[in-house]
Amino acid sequence: MNSTFEEVNPVAKLAAVLLMSLCLILSLDWVSGSVALAFEAVLLPLAGVPAKRFWLRTLPVWVAAPLTGLTIALYGEASGVIHVEFWAIRVSDGSLELAIATVLRVLAIGLPAVVLFLTVDPTALADGLAQVWRLPSRFVLGALAALRLVGLFIDDWRSLEQARRARGVGDGGRLARLPGQAFALLVLSIRRGSKLATAMEARGFGSDIERSWARTSQFGAREWMLTATGLIAGLCALAVAIATGEWNFILG
């Protein structure tokens, strides 16, 4: 399955993650998050991301989740027994429960999202969005081409910083220089962007001729299965939460 997961249409991966996440954001409780995580514990390893890469890239999620939890434990809406009270801090049964629910939810939504981006080839995703979901090709291909410019921004930023030092305005705090430098980067990116747009037009992009596609983007049984898996994981999480009485509708 490892080798074939790479070949699954990225649109299906995106759909699976979106459907599951949609189910999860409806309720804020610890049960649905746990159930979703249990599904993910089984499914994510099948995505074939090497262990080291997985832990390294998902590290921000593992750091962010407990921090969010801590904040909610300290400042979240209090109910039930209050354990600690100090200035604005109130740790209660209610805030602790909310905190746990939030940590599980951040992990359950964050981890598959990261894995999605690690395993998706942007070109294949663009092909899928345009051919399967029929999004306008101008928009999708424009975004895809612009994505390639991101790498150049990093070089530009470094050069801008060096140039400011060379021009005698590099003393003083980095923070103070940030707005001006960010604006300069914006100007450079717009110039790069318009050059890229001309280059694309020079190759017939944006003409009235109906476009053909060099690469196929298929949505078959495999893709439907993956999408259904995401939906089922989300629905199961909801069902268990409702059955155990922990369902806590966010708008309720």
Binding site: R148, S159, A166, R167, A199, E201, A202, I209, A214
Partner: protein
């Protein structure tokens, strides 16, 4: 309405006939017309070198022929410009355009997909696309796997990739807009040879803009010279036009082999060492040295050229010498005459301390522009030195005049032409009178007039005692100003 012959791919596209009757174009928001009163006829299969001073509207014409100038919201049109009797915008795909900047022409992340992009836009069927792609790559001599990442290509390879993308569209009109201006000597040869190979098997009409005449002279059978005041100055066989107009063209900035730019006399006399490079290892990021074991001195009133192939670390060395990048190992040491009170190592200096000691001219002038007008741009350095306003104004006025920028004092630096941007970027460094001037590829893509002015200026600075360090591919520049060459 595209010809069947283009779609089935079994025969090469036939050449396009170009007709221009009183054609002119004015970019939206500009007062002056970029091109006016152009009357021209180019027959199918003709190969044309398009010349003219900067500002004569060469690029505008090529963009119009490619149908990418835009509609009426992008500018005003006069007269008519036709491809086979029809307006270029309704003939997308008949003309293929290759632009100057290699980086902004790569569109997709894999070589094969990038070449296929143009064909997709023209609605070429999938099987036919994948038949054309390897063919196009082979025809420009890029023998790479189709899934090779485009980010790993050199400048010359990127230009050939873009050319393959254009060729795969099987255009009847091939347009090249200074395709080699941003390339080193090897890159120029690569691209020129690829085009030569294509023209051998093609009946397409061909137009190239280039201010280095010798690169394309043997491949074209007609030279057209556009006038800055509208219309055509000269038109005919290359030998005839260059014999009649060569001198005038050279004066307007075109590189004509028979009329090389004048070189300044070597009137400077190298002084004492003011900067020393010892056992230096350089790199942009830690743990990734690009060059090591460097050992040389820089003397006052002398020219040092740093040369070497692409990727050898020339720019990195330049930034390190200039005190903008920390050495990975070894030293860049300033002698006490250069230090005048500051620390021993330039990288330890404050940004303000650099100003009077080491000035840097970046390869891309856009990176170093900070102000909204040319005048304000020049005042930044002197103001950072806290000079009195009267002195700031004096220095700025002097530089504006000396570098021929006074009529542009109120213009935005980003709107200047390539040559003007280069002169301004040099002027910003000179405004604080540094003892060492480091320039990264100062002559890249410059016309012969800017080249000549720049070389004369550097010679003058050296006579006055400045140490000039130039990172360059340009052998003529090395010959003109270098007392020593550091080859990486």
């Amino acid at each position: 309405m595209r010809g069947e012959s283009d779609l089935n791919g079994s025969e090469a596209a036939r050449g396009v006939r170009i007709t221009s009757r009183g054609w002119g174009w004015r970019h939206a928001g500009r007062l002056a017309w970029a091109v006016t009163d152009l009357d021209l006829m180019i027959e199918p299969g003709e190969r044309v070198l398009l010349l003219g001073a900067s500002g004569a509207g060469k690029s505008t014409l090529l963009h119009a022929l490619a149908g990418v100038l835009g509609g009426s919201d992008e500018g005003d049109q006069r007269g008519e410009l036709l491809l086979d009797g029809r307006p270029p915008t309704s003939e997308r795909g008949r003309a293929g355009l290759l632009l100057q900047d290699p980086d902004s022409q790569v569109i997709l992340s894999r070589v094969g997909d990038d070449v296929a992009f143009g064909c997709e836009n023209l609605g070429v069927p999938r099987d036919e696309i994948w038949r054309r792609v390897p063919e196009a790559l082979a025809s420009v001599g890029l023998n790479l796997p189709l899934d090779h990442p485009t980010s790993a290509l050199s400048g010359g390879q990127k230009q050939r990739l873009a050319l393959a993308g254009v060729i795969a569209m099987q255009p009847g009109l091939l347009l090249l807009d200074e395709p080699t201006a941003n390339l080193d000597a090897d890159g120029v040869d690569e691209v020129r040879d690829a085009v030569a190979g294509l023209l051998d098997h093609s009946s397409a009409t061909f137009i190239v803009i280039e201010h280095r005449v010798e690169v394309w002279r043997s491949l074209v059978d007609r030279v057209i010279v556009l006038s800055t005041s509208g219309g055509v100055v000269a038109d005919g066989h290359p030998d005839v036009v260059l014999a009649e107009e060569g001198a005038a063209l050279a004066r307007s900035g075109v590189w004509v082999p028979e009329h090389p730019p004048a070189l300044p006399g070597r009137e400077w006399a190298p002084g004492d060492r003011i900067l020393e490079v010892a056992r230096l290892t350089v790199g942009r990021v830690k743990d990734n040295p690009v060059c090591s074991g460097l050992q040389f001195g820089v003397r006052a009133a002398s020219g040092t050229a740093i040369t070497g192939p692409n990727g050898a670390g020339k720019s990195t060395l330049g930034l390190t010498i200039a005190g903008l990048l920390p050495p990975l190992a070894g030293d860049v040491r300033a002698e006490s005459s250069l230090r005048s009170g500051a620390a021993e190592h330039p990288i330890r200096w404050k940004s303000r301390e650099l100003l009077t000691r080491i000035g840097t001219v970046f390869q891309h002038p856009e990176h170093q522009f900070l102000a909204a007008t040319v005048r304000a741009e020049l005042a930044i350095g002197p103001r950072a030195l806290k000079l009195p306003e009267s002195e700031v104004a004096e220095r700025v006025d002097e530089l504006l005049q000396r570098l021929g920028l006074d009529h542009l004092a109120a213009a935005n630096p980003f709107t200047l032409s390539g040559g003007e941007k280069r002169r301004l970027s040099v002027a910003t460094a000179l405004a604080t009178r540094p003892k060492v001037l480091v320039l990264d590829e100062p002559t890249f893509g410059q016309d012969s007039r800017t080249w000549q002015e720049l070389v004369a200026l550097l010679a003058e600075l050296m006579v006055q005692g400045t140490a000039v360090v130039a990172i360059t591919h340009d052998r003529q520049l090395v010959a003109a100003i270098a007392d020593r060459e550091v080859r990486l």
